[in-house]
Symmetry: D2
């Protein structure tokens, strides 16, 4: 055997949206609407597999849901009363359409379709073992590892095979599956990513966030529990606990930024938590200023919270252009600082002569925020005070959030004062970790705050090794 093997280039997976529909005449269409509501969880590719319990039909494509499913005929083809769907987050470099989910594989039980949101932390090890046993891999996704484990299980019943496989994997995962006339959904024992169950008349709907239930007018029933496998067949739902839940390590960044404000995840309204983040930020870090503005749209809610608690007026000082389209030709080198203006414009009449608090939900690299501060100053702001509704991000996420590597995270390289100078603002304050945790309920277990603290609650030895070597 050669020491240097050919390989398909590997790529870490990142946060995504997933959906399953069970027993509805318009299953594929409901999956489409749900994916549409979950578009913020992934814009790189979208896909749906439908089933009439005998034959699967698949349609996947690059781009946003509305563009991938732009032809009525696609829905005619996606027949059947069951469907699962997937949105993949945008990652750098064009990923192969072959990796686009849902993944479909024939095994002895039938053809399995699977849609996965999360990241396995021991997929390298598992993949190596499987390959040694003669398994072949056609994608570079974590998901295929799980499919192999299911296919190789010798257990009698399908749900036992899934359980056996799920018990071998580590990491964060919220998964929907479909085989023959059954739908399955499972969530890792730490409950890192959200996943919930809804009903619409007799149909069951599983989605990443409740905003997708709202769009299709389904009723929220409950979350899939950490360590639970849900099996839907014969028009009813059965629950299997495949692992004991941990103390809980729900991703707190879902509240800070990722989930939609109109969703309810982890048994809390995102909007309410996000508002509390803003309020706590105002308490911890008030500013001697005239107005509060938001970096739209993701920081709107926190900014309103800040405004309410600080008694500073909330103003619409930045306007966001929503017509960006699929391909925006980057400005020429010499026009580089047009960049941020393509997305945002400052409202001079509001900012001129004012002392302005800018609320931002988080800072990753800081490059866009630096341009925004400049834009706000050029619009006449007298002072610019940046307030961030989460702590400094110092560590990469190995559980599905698509952060850059450690070296690119600005808070990993600079002190808060240095970041303030880099941004060019008059003051910069982050929310403390304590205030962050104070903003969320602790009734349902704890949170993962690894990106802010570097304390990884789920084993990541393998990932660290990998990142170090590449």
């Amino acid at each position: 055997m050669t020491s240097c093997k050919t390989r398909i280039v590997d790529k870490p997976e990142s946060n995504c949206g997933t959906v399953a529909v069970y027993d509805h005449a318009d299953a594929a269409y409901l999956a489409y609407l749900a994916l549409y509501a979950l578009q913020h969880r992934g814009q790189e590719s979208a896909g749906i597999v439908s089933s009439d319990s005998e034959k699967l039909q698949k349609h996947v494509g690059h781009g946003v849901v509305a563009d991938v499913f732009s032809d009525q005929k696609t829905f005619d083809r996606l027949a059947g009363r069951m469907a699962i769907g997937h949105n993949r987050y945008s990652t750098t470099g064009g990923a192969s359409i072959l990796n686009a989910q849902p993944l479909v594989a024939n095994m002895r039980d039938g053809a399995l379709a699977i849609s996965h949101n999360g990241n396995f932390t021991n997929s390298g090890t598992l993949r190596h073992e499987l390959v040694q046993e003669g398994a072949i891999f056609q994608t570079t996704t974590d998901t295929e590892v799980l499919v192999h484990l299911i296919a190789r299980s010798r257990a009698a019943e399908m749900h036992e095979r899934i359980i056996e496989a799920a018990q071998k994997i580590r990491g964060a995962f919220s998964i929907t599956m479909m085989i023959n006339d059954k739908v399955y959904a499972l969530r890792d024992p730490d409950g890192v990513r959200p996943l919930c169950i809804g009903k619409k008349n007799g149909a069951y709907i599983i989605v990443s966030e409740t905003c997708a239930l709202d769009l299709i007018r389904a009723t929220y029933i409950r979350d899939v529990k950490p360590g639970e496998l849900v099996e839907i067949s014969d028009k009813r739902l059965r629950s299997h606990q495949f692992a004991k839940p941990t103390s809980g390590h729900k991703c707190i960044f879902e509240f800070v930024y990722f989930s939609r404000p109109d969703s309810r995840i982890f048994n809390e309204n995102v909007d309410k938590v996000r508002r509390k983040l803003g309020k706590n930020l105002a308490l911890e870090s008030p500013a001697d200023a005239d107005i509060v503005i938001s970096v739209p749209d993701s920081s709107n809610t926190a900014a309103v919270g800040y405004s309410r608690r600080s008694d500073l007026k909330f103003e619409l000082g930045l306007i966001r252009n929503h017509y960006i389209g699929r391909t925006f030709i980057s400005p020429h080198q010499k026009m580089r600082d047009f960049g941020v203006r393509v997305k945002f414009n400052a409202v001079r009449g509001i900012l001129k002569g004012r002392r302005v608090v800018v609320v931002e939900d988080s800072i990753v690299r800081g490059t866009t925020l630096k341009q925004l501060v400049k834009l706000i100053r050029q619009a006449g702001a007298k002072e610019v005070h940046v307030r961030v509704s989460s702590p400094p991000i110092t560590s990469p996420c190995y559980y599905g959030m698509d952060f850059p590597s450690k070296g690119e995270l600005i808070a990993n390289k600079k002190s808060v004062d240095e970041i303030r100078d880099y941004l060019g603002c008059n003051s910069l304050k982050y929310l403390s970790k304590e205030a962050l945790l104070d903003s969320v309920s602790h009734d349902n277990g704890g949170y993962c705050t690894a990106c802010f603290t570097g304390d990884y609650p789920i084993s990541i030895e393998e990932k660290i090794g990998k990142y170090q070597h590449e």
Copy 2:
């Protein structure tokens, strides 16, 4: 001659965006960025014609600017230090790409490129006269009428020919043109549509709204005046007054809805006027309620104004989905009421149990607002009070705004009480015409309020005839 002639189907033109760039190394690219900033003025098609003073290059296409100009090579081809561009507003039914602007025509002075925002009210008469004289028309646009008039003028100088032609046309028009090494811009004597002049280093930039100057970091100089023809050549600007300005009939609906809040038009900040509309609305029509929400994004500013004056809290009760993409497959018949949920979702945690004021900028047909009221109620609102920051729209616009026909305007068929019942809200109040006019400055002449009053300041006999017969 046959009494029944073959014809290309005629279509009224509607509000658009226009831009001209004079003497810049990246003329086409600046035009592209400007069109991008003016995207809200038209999403149906986009086009740019560039010129190196000898040869014109043209690129037009259906769709939004970022999609039409998605290839770097397009900019390599669009060479030269001059460029004009155009955005066309979406109209029902796919319009021919042959009508897409800028229009280019060879005449004895050279090849003329022209981009037009507005609507001529005597184009039918002029077209008939021209055709009788042997002119041929290849488009159904007003713009071609103007080009013929210019080509047929016997005046010695190009600016004289344009003046002669402009004096023959009636209606609303803000136009940019380019021929040989000159750029021209002109605006109708009533000043209905905005048009302004900026500079970026030595380059002149003409655009519909100042937000386009902001994006490309150009400095606003002044508006093109009503009745003025601006000629830019030999690196300087000359002004010709082709018609005496009237008392002024600026489109007040540009402030209510159409222009971007970060623009300055008609010498006023749109944001400021729109805030004042909200404040006046609060004064005229207070509500016994708990919170104020906006129909995002167009009503945000007015809602903030209403909130400030009424001392009711401003909340983000509706979330808008911005990922709609180019083609959204309409819900099946039986799923019709998903419609509004595709665009908006209600935030239950904010609305539940509350008495809610919903601020909307204007009501055309009322169908979307009716669904929104239902959505807000389903999210648990106790009461819904709709407040509209403009008067009832009762009359079509013949000056470029793409309203539906009279019969489709809800305020033309129903009383305010009937509309309230149709919408299903607890109360409904419109801003009065007096308060509307009180919200704007009258230093620079008057406004056209025809859509609210039916008083058309510019002759429309021809248009009325046409609309009656079809």
Copy 3:
């Protein structure tokens, strides 16, 4: 006025295909099939305009007919019992879709659609005059000149206007038109390009070549005569002679290469003439050889003729690859001589050890033939004798054939012996002009042989000037 005017880049037009259908339920579909049969006359763009006597519908696109009209819905849209169509020949550099025919223009009589095969030799002069009178041009085609002349005619009846216009133009033209409920077809007084009339049940069909009548199972009636305007209305055909026919200058190159062998043009079977060319070539220039092969497919018929008369066996020594597709990525620089192999392969078993006569219909630049000779030699041919079934091409065509400029024509730069050396063949013989003319019937007047002789029967002063200056 500036001395240096902006302009749209001008491009000479070239040979094309044209069709008109009058009074058939599937008019657009018949036009499509006819264009398909005429595909060899132009592959750059294709277009059809249909009419229901009131409204015109147009569809044009780049590429071959089957690709431009690849959607059944297009035909649903192209309604009406009348249609005209056009194929444009491929020219170097991507031509604008705005130039794609049929051209449609509104004039006082209605909307006129026009499709033109040929080239006006005085279009520059006419265009200049029209532009001085205030006409505007939106394309750079000859065709628009004719449309202007028709629109400006003051004659009472449409056919009189067309006649008045046609009398002003010089050059080669075979044209179909449609306005209101009438179809027109006209042909220049020299009869340079073919144009014929067929019937299918009650419907009239006008096409460039009879092979298009065959495909749609229409019956050939007669040619449109030189100098004749045919008018079809009220279900009958009327003939107007707008100019006295000359002694006749039919393009002899249509027989040599351009027309399809299964067509009948100028009252003769192309196949029969082409065979005669091969026979006369064998008589004039026999070869001491073993076999005769053709450069497929255009030289097949002449090669069979040569074989028959010379008693040398006809063999299929070259195989042509017909799967070239729309875009073939050119070989890398270093692989340049793969070029000809992409189109042709030599059959070693046939060629090896043989003395081979290669029959080619004509030589323009000679580059491909040079590679073919090499290919044949590499396949083992002992001797290669090239026989050309037409005389040396020494002069450009100003009447529609898309030859390169004079400098690029090999026979204009080299003697026959030098060409032989360039090609690397053992002998090279061209057909004499006398034998060429002997191959065609002279019953219906004479031929244009300008490309072989430089004797231009129709005035071309303007064109020569133009070519000299560029």
Copy 4:
């Protein structure tokens, strides 16, 4: 386990083209040219995988090679000195792009790319066994079965694993593979499909037919032998015999129709055999006629052979239209008999009043030939005598040729006289099986003639079962 499993719809594979390039700077580009030359073996999809010994790059798409690889950038991406490619034959119903080859799979030895021409006759059984052992399948292709067998082999060396796998499969296969820095090629023990080895400077090239070597100017070395596995690594070729060759069952239909006439397969020139078929046909079944014509282009060579032996003149009586493009809109129901005219036209001047022999290589359904006979008669032929250069096709092919099912084969339902009546010709004669076999060399073993005789030399129990049940 459920009795009714979901499944991806299965589809029989059919004849294809394959290529491998080893150690050339332009490996992907050479593969592209080779696929281009093999385009006749498959137009449904095309694909290339390149390798730099470490990373694989893949590009596949629907359509012909020139369209799938129409972008220079594709070749920039397909880096490396090794490449394999594949053409898939058009089958009814749009096949999934996921099935498009080359297939790529990661296994413990590295990433394997594989391209397969042929059909396994025991793939169902093997697939069932593999699935029972926990293998998962992502495509419905035979090829994936082979990949699994290789991955599961416990042999030490890669070539031993391939041999172990190859020994398990039955049927017809000519396969190229690539893994790490090695290329492999293998051919079934019966030698059903062609596969040959060429060299170009130091590079090895493996292709289905020699015409692909000609295009890229490689030198033919030898065929891959039946039962041989060729391994190319360290710049040299090693041969492994994985199975004893049988008496030989080369597909005789490759000579009759499928291969290109300029290819050399099975150690014979296709052109020469095809000519002999025509000659033997003339000896067996002369006709009292005036001329011989071919159904172009596939029957040209046999028709020339018939003409030579019968002393009847060979004429070009049918012209084929080669511009069919990707999508041809089918004629309306009422215009059904335009069908054949879209592809062919008759040359009236040749056929009129003549007694015509039409040589056709084979008859499958007979529908097109029926229309051609009618077309020839309508062109004036006095008599039409059909001569077929192969025996009646009575049985489907299970070894890769894409024939319709037994019920659709006309010779399976009708006697020769009945077929003659169906076609409407004056006489119909097929070549006898004896004359067919007389036309080929028997130096290198025997032939498969199953489609003509129903004698299947390789076990097909499984396939028959499958065909019976569907």
